[in-house]
Amino acid sequence: MPRETLGQFEQLVLLAILHLAASGAEDVYGVPIVDEIERRTGRPASRVAVYVALRRLEDKGLVRSRMGDPIAERGGKSRRLVEVTRAGNQALRDARHVLDQMWRGLDPRLEKHR
């Protein structure tokens, strides 16, 4: 299967999911993902872009989702929880590798090449 290429925003979303999972967050779903991205990038993120990205990632098989348990705050409805698949992990690694390759030989702070 040809490896899926990841757009930049998609990478941000995947990384946010991984961060949330690593930090032991209860539920990993749309709302904290947006928060996490905004927190780490320091810039506002388009919420709809996140959701669209999640759908695309799921279509590509890089993310899987499931409906969580019903919760009281939602009046008995549940949240759509997401997690990164093995393929998603692999895609991230590949993207990182590609970037590393492109960065090799350049000053990381880019001062010398100004």
Partner: protein, 890 residues
């Protein structure tokens, strides 16, 4: 949110809510609201673009491109199957709606099919003879005489009509008998017809086995008979060798020459045998012996009026041809022939209640349709957005209509199937509680015609409640509201729904009033004073069959012996016998003259009479008014005691004391004996609860002044005992010891006879009560549905009001008032319609007027109470609305 793909909608909206709440808590609701609308817009746009991108890439295309390649028929078939599949899926997600609709339809269509099956067998096709509409029964009427309004005529009429009526193809004469039939293995008392050989030709009947009586048999005076299919299977185990067998029927050995097919009956299913009867030698007919039925087949195109007109003059010439006394000539002068179609006679009184019932279930069906229509209107409106999007994405009007009709068709199909099951179960129930004597009840079944009827109704239902909303909501104009927010509810939709509920309420009220009137009639009727007791009384008849029992005294001795033995049984309080049991067979009538009547030369009155013996009066609790009752000494040759009822006494000796007065039994002044009145007893109602007055009765002793003047052949015994319901076996055992050759039959308790007499009314009443109960429930559900919908539509308004300080009681009142308005309008219309309609019930009512104010008032009250109850639940829900929730959500 509808622009989002379906599986994203729910959780995305919830996520947005969560953030909204957060923002509202941090920065206030105003800011949060603005944020919310911005996000909603961007989501709609974002996902729409995503979809377009997908389409462009050829992935997840919304309209499959391969569709154009298939032919139109295949396409339409596939569209239907996919629509049905989607409809099934949608319905599964709305189980409440689906179940209510199916249940409503199943009950309404099932009830209709069950009643239709009964009506079909009894009313629409009641006569299994060729050209049955040309068959007529000819009787006589003689207004001004004291004969009953219609009476069966004498043999001379048959002969004269046969010879002189040119408008007839064929004519026959017959009598009903109930007589003992005895083979080597069995004996019983059966119903049979004694008829001329032309009976079968007139009916154009053909036998299943053997042949029918013919002219040859007449010439030879052959004692032949034809048996029914049911007799053949129960007594002769369907053995074809029964043809040619001889056994005793009605006292004479006769030979079986034919067996009739199973569906043949004449005139009803009780008849087991048809005996070839002799027409008395024409020169020796005694005119004036009435009691023969005449069946005739009119030539094509002749009406009953034509025939009656032709027969009249023929009848007028009877005394010329046959002679007879002066009283006979007088009778003929007053006589006119009465011609009725056979169908009329056979179906008789059963027709009216059945048509009423059919009308009733039709009303219930319409109410059910109104309910389901309401449900579908709501459903179609809640699907408006969905349809709007579909239309925007390329669906044609036909596609939209089809997608809505698919649900209707599916529900109607399932409802129809459930209805067939209900009908199949309901029909045997109906037959069991139906009154006796309703023709052809044994032929009622849920057959192919009923199935088609059900299917037709289901299809009709689908069209009525599926098509209209589908057409409306798929109009191009209606689809232009993708932009609209909040629940959509067009003003016309609301009006239609409220109109439907008003109609339902009105119809339900009409049924309730009808049921109420019948219930009151039933109560009144069952409390009519009959003049005798009916509790704990067991009755049966016995027909002794011994050569030595052949006249008054010998019969009396036989029966007295049996009565003594029965009286000795444990638990028996008293025993008596009578020739004509009230509520069973009615009474014989005869002419009785007093000395004054004879002196004046007037026609002696035609009065019911019966022999009575044992402790008949005590057993039946018929009170003694004056004088004394029969003692053993009265039942002997040479005695002349007679007992009269109060009404008879008043008729024969007005304002005089009848004790000791004399009464002649019969009109032959040279031979018929005088009897002396020894006692007066209370009056009784003989034949029906509905009689306006009790019958005057003459009670004769078991034995008359001479041995041959009369005899009690097979009287009805009455036994008073607390074990009345279970005595049959013991008495049968007793009888087997006392007289093993004598059949025991017509075994009832008096209470059973009472039930039978009331059956016509109780049958109609029960069914009408069930139907009106169903209508009431359906009407309440309909009202509840409309009000719930109104509440949900006006949630925002209610929330605003409550946020501005309106109390929950005020909100509840608002909803209840709305419900009450609709209900009141319905009740008003219902009362008006009921006024027009209850006249139809008049023949069934008893003791209550068709416009009884109390019933109308009570039922209106019930309807309003139920309506208020149905309004209360949505009202309560309205007042429980959380203003915050309401203002945000959709």
């Amino acid at each position: 949110m509808r622009a989002l793909p379906a599986d994203a909608r729910g959780h995305v909206a919830d996520d947005l809510d969560e953030v909204y709440r957060r923002i509202a808590a941090d920065e206030g609701p105003a800011r949060a609201g603005r944020w919310y609308w911005r996000e909603a817009a961007s989501f709609s746009l974002g996902f729409l673009l995503e979809r377009l991108r997908d389409r462009a890439r050829g992935r997840r295309a919304i309209i499959p491109s391969t569709r154009e390649k298939r032919g139109p028929v295949r396409r339409s078939f596939e569209s239907w199957t996919s629509d049905l599949r989607f409809a099934a899926r949608r319905l599964r997600r709305a189980p409440g709606f689906a179940l209510i609709t199916i249940a409503t339809l199943a009950l309404a269509i099932g009830a209709n099919t069950a009643i239709f099956s009964v009506v079909e067998a009894v009313l629409i096709d009641p006569l299994p003879y060729a050209n049955a509409d040309r068959l007529v029964i000819v009787r006589g009427t003689a207004p001004g005489s004291d004969l009953p309004a219609e009476f069966p005529v004498g043999a001379e009429f048959f002969v004269a009509y046969r010879d002189g009526a040119t408008l007839l193809d064929d004519i026959a004469m017959f009598e009903f008998w109930q007589a003992t039939v005895r083979t080597d293995e069995r004996v019983d008392r059966l119903f049979l017809i004694n008829g001329t050989s032309s009976l079968f030709t007139t009916l154009a009947a053909t036998p299943m086995l053997g042949r029918l009586p013919n002219k040859e048999d007449d010439v030879q005076r052959a004692q032949v008979m034809v048996i029914s299919h049911s007799l053949w299977s129960t007594w002769f185990a369907s053995d074809p060798s029964v043809i040619g067998r001889s056994f005793e029927a009605a006292g004479t050995k006769r030979t079986v020459i034919g067996v009739m097919p199973p569906e043949f009956r004449f005139p009803d299913a009780r008849i087991a045998l048809w005996i070839r009867g002799a027409i008395p030698d024409e020169k020796r007919i005694t005119p004036g012996r009435l009691g023969f039925q005449i069946l005739a087949r009119m030539k094509p195109g002749v009406t009953t009026a034509d025939l009656a007109a032709q027969l009249g003059p023929i009848a007028k010439r009877l005394p010329e041809r046959f002679g007879g006394p002066a009283s006979y000539a007088r009778l003929i002068e007053q006589h006119r022939p009465v011609v009725r179609t056979l169908e009329d006679v056979v179906v008789g009184e059963a027709a009216r209640p059945l048509w009423i019932l059919l009308g009733t279930v039709a009303i219930v069906f319409l109410i059910a349709c109104a309910n389901v229509a309401n449900l579908f209107i709501v459903r179609s409106e809640s699907r408006r957005r969905d349809l709007a999007v579909r239309s925007a994405l390329g669906a044609g009007r036909a596609d939209l209509i089809r997608s809505q009709m698919a649900e209707a068709v599916l529900l109607a199909a399932v409802g129809g199937m459930a209805a067939a099951v209900i009908a199949k179960m309901g029909v045997p129930l109906l037959v069991r509680i139906a009154p006796e004597g309703v023709a052809n009840l044994d032929l009622v079944s849920v057959d192919a015609r009923a199935v088609f009827f059900t299917a037709g109704l289901a299809t009709l239902a689908a069209c009525i409640f599926g098509l209209a909303p589908a057409l409306r909501s798929s109009r191009p104009r209606a689809l232009g509201d993708l932009r609209q927010t909040g629940r959509i509810g067009s003003p016309q939709g609301r009006l239609i729904r409220q109109a439907l509920v008003v109609l339902q309420t009105a119809s339900a009220l009409v049924l309730l009033v009808a049921a109420g009137l019948l219930a009151r009639s039933f109560w009144q009727l069952s409390h009519v004073a009959l003049g005798y007791e009916t509790k704990n009384i067991f009755t049966f008849q016995v027909a002794p069959q011994r050569r030595e029992v052949n006249d008054g005294p010998t019969y009396a001795r036989f029966h007295q012996g049996l009565m003594d033995r029965i009286a000795a049984m444990p638990g028996v309080e008293s025993v008596g016998l009578v020739n004509e049991l009230p509520l069973d067979e009615g009474a014989n009538r005869g002419r009785f003259a007093t000395e004054r009547i004879e002196a004046s030369g007037a026609q002696p009155p035609f009065l019911p009479f019966s022999q009575a013996g044992g402790d008949y009066f005590e057993t039946m609790s018929i009170p003694l008014v004056s004088g004394r009752l029969f003692e053993p000494g009265d039942h002997m040759v040479g005695r002349d005691s007679v007992i009269v009822s109060r009404a008879a006494a008043q008729l024969l000796w007005p304002n005089e004391d009848p004790i000791g007065k004399r009464l002649r039994y019969g009109t032959d002044q040279s031979r018929d004996p005088w009897l002396t009145v020894i006692g007066v007893v209370g009056d009784v109602r003989l034949s029906s609860f509905r009689q306006t007055a009790a019958d005057p009765m003459i009670y004769l002793a078991m034995v008359g002044p001479t041995p041959d003047i009369w005899a009690i052949g097979s009287p009805a015994y009455v036994v008073k005992s607390p074990h009345a319901a279970s005595m049959a076996a013991d008495i049968r055992a007793l009888l087997r010891q006392y007289a093993p050759e004598a059949p025991m039959y017509r075994i009832f308790t008096m209470e059973r006879l009472v039930d039978r007499a009331l059956a016509s009314l109780s049958f109609t009443m029960i069914l009408l009560a069930v139907a009106s109960g169903l209508a009431l429930v359906l009407g309440a559900v309909g009202l509840y549905g409309v009000l719930s919908y109104v509440v949900s539509q006006r949630t925002r308004e209610i929330a605003v009001r409550m946020a501005l300080g309106a109390k929950s009681t005020a909100v509840r009142r608002m909803v209840v008032v709305q419900g009450a308005r609709v209900a009141l309008l319905g009740v008003a219309i219902g009362v008006a319609v009921a006024f027009g309609v209850t006249g139809v019930l008049k023949s069934l009512l008893f003791g209550v007027e068709a416009f009884d104010a109390a019933t109308f008032g009570a039922m209106s009250g019930v309807m309003l109470a139920v309506a208020l109850l149905a309004s209360y639940v949505p009202a309560y829900r309205a007042s429980a609305v959380d203003p915050m929730q309401a203002l945000r959500g959709e």
